[in-house]
């Protein structure tokens, strides 16, 4: 039985009842894990309130932060400051410099690109090569495919087709997420997997991008954030108690 994850469920944090209904719907659709983007200044209370809603809906919560830096230095500064506060770090790349820096930085989990301005999609072969040597994966949001119409959707599908082929050639993991801001654009994992056939992604790759890939990312980061983590491959297996 696959465990599915939606790493980008954009619930409105200012509206707890809508947030709750979206989380419950994610659970009903068959997701076991949801990643909810939070403000970098999110308080512990907000996070514990979300955890409570998620545990009631029987779904696991991964805290996520989205960066939209204008320069590589701004990205590095944000990563230094916030990496250890969140389980998932996604970078929306608005410039090529930022995209290259994000792709090679092992602290970045997800690379995101604009869905409306296709000139700002920098996932080319150079980007894929850098990403393949780091830990970042290409994030593809599926709600925009539902929201866009006619020619803008055609152009987005064309870009995605090219990027998925590049990612597969360079063995860059792909993570599929909803990016939904409303229940209306939420779909089950197998429905999203079927949507990916529109840009020539195979069903098996799509299901992997909705299950194994996001889970691996979250579990790797949870290990790193735990108190027992020392360095890659080194962790505390036991502690001597007092006396």
């Amino acid at each position: 039985m696959k465990r599915f994850a939606d790493l980008h469920l954009r619930v409105p944090l200012e509206d707890p009842s809508k947030a709750e209904s979206m989380i419950q719907k994610a659970s009903a659709l068959g997701y076991n894990l949801v990643g909810i983007p939070l403000s970098p200044h999110a308080t512990r209370e907000q996070i514990s309130q979300l955890r409570h809603i998620c545990s009631e809906a029987k779904v696991d919560l991964a805290t996520r932060v989205n960066f939209s830096p204008r320069t590589p230095n701004e990205l590095l500064h944000s990563l230094r400051r916030l990496r250890r506060k969140f389980e998932i770090v996604a970078v929306r790349c608005h410039t090529k410099d930022v995209a290259r820096q994000a792709a090679k930085d092992r602290r970045v989990d997800l690379l995101q690109f604009s869905v409306t301005n296709l000139r700002k999609r920098f996932f080319d072969e150079a980007e894929a090569e850098l990403a393949s040597q780091a830990l970042s994966s290409l994030e593809i949001e599926l709600a925009p495919i539902l929201q866009l119409t006619s020619f803008s959707r055609v152009r987005l599908l064309s870009s995605l087709r090219r990027e998925v082929a590049t990612a597969e050639r360079f063995k860059v993991p792909i993570t599929l997420s909803s990016g939904a801001t409303d229940e209306h654009f939420m779909r089950g994992p197998r429905d999203y997997a079927a949507l990916t056939t529109l840009f020539d992604m195979s069903m098996s790759s799509a299901l992997r991008a909705l299950s194994e890939t996001p889970w691996v990312t979250v579990e790797r980061n949870r290990k790193k954030l735990s108190a027992d983590y020392v360095a890659p491959g080194v962790h505390v297996v036991g502690r001597k108690t007092g006396d």
Partner: protein, 98 residues
């Protein structure tokens, strides 16, 4: 394929079939729609559940078209696939409600 329709307006089988067919047509054109071979098989209007049959070779395309449906009869709506099977008997076992 068992479907559940999420929409605030009253529905009948023709509205749902039209919405699915329009989606298939929009995404895959007349050629794709002709290969999909869509037919409505069963309806449970009180639960807003419908069973449609399609060519098994076009299942992924039909499912993609169903997932991409955001408007039903000119109003906001969505269609969720509850289950897929080769026979009605297996489908009813899978989805339990139908």
């Amino acid at each position: 394929m068992a479907l559940e329709v999420v929409s605030e307006q009253p529905l009948n089988e023709q509205i749902v079939l039209d919405a699915v067919q329009a989606s298939v047509h929009r995404l895959f054109g007349e050629y794709g729609a002709s290969k999909a071979n869509l037919k409505l098989t069963k309806t449970i209007p009180e639960k807003r559940q419908f069973v449609i049959r399609c060519s098994h070779k076009e299942l992924d395309h039909v499912r993609a078209a169903i997932a991409s449906t955001t408007m039903i009869n000119g109003k906001n709506g969505a269609i969720q696939v509850l289950g897929v099977s080769g026979t009605l008997k297996a489908l009813s076992k899978k989805t339990q409600n139908i």
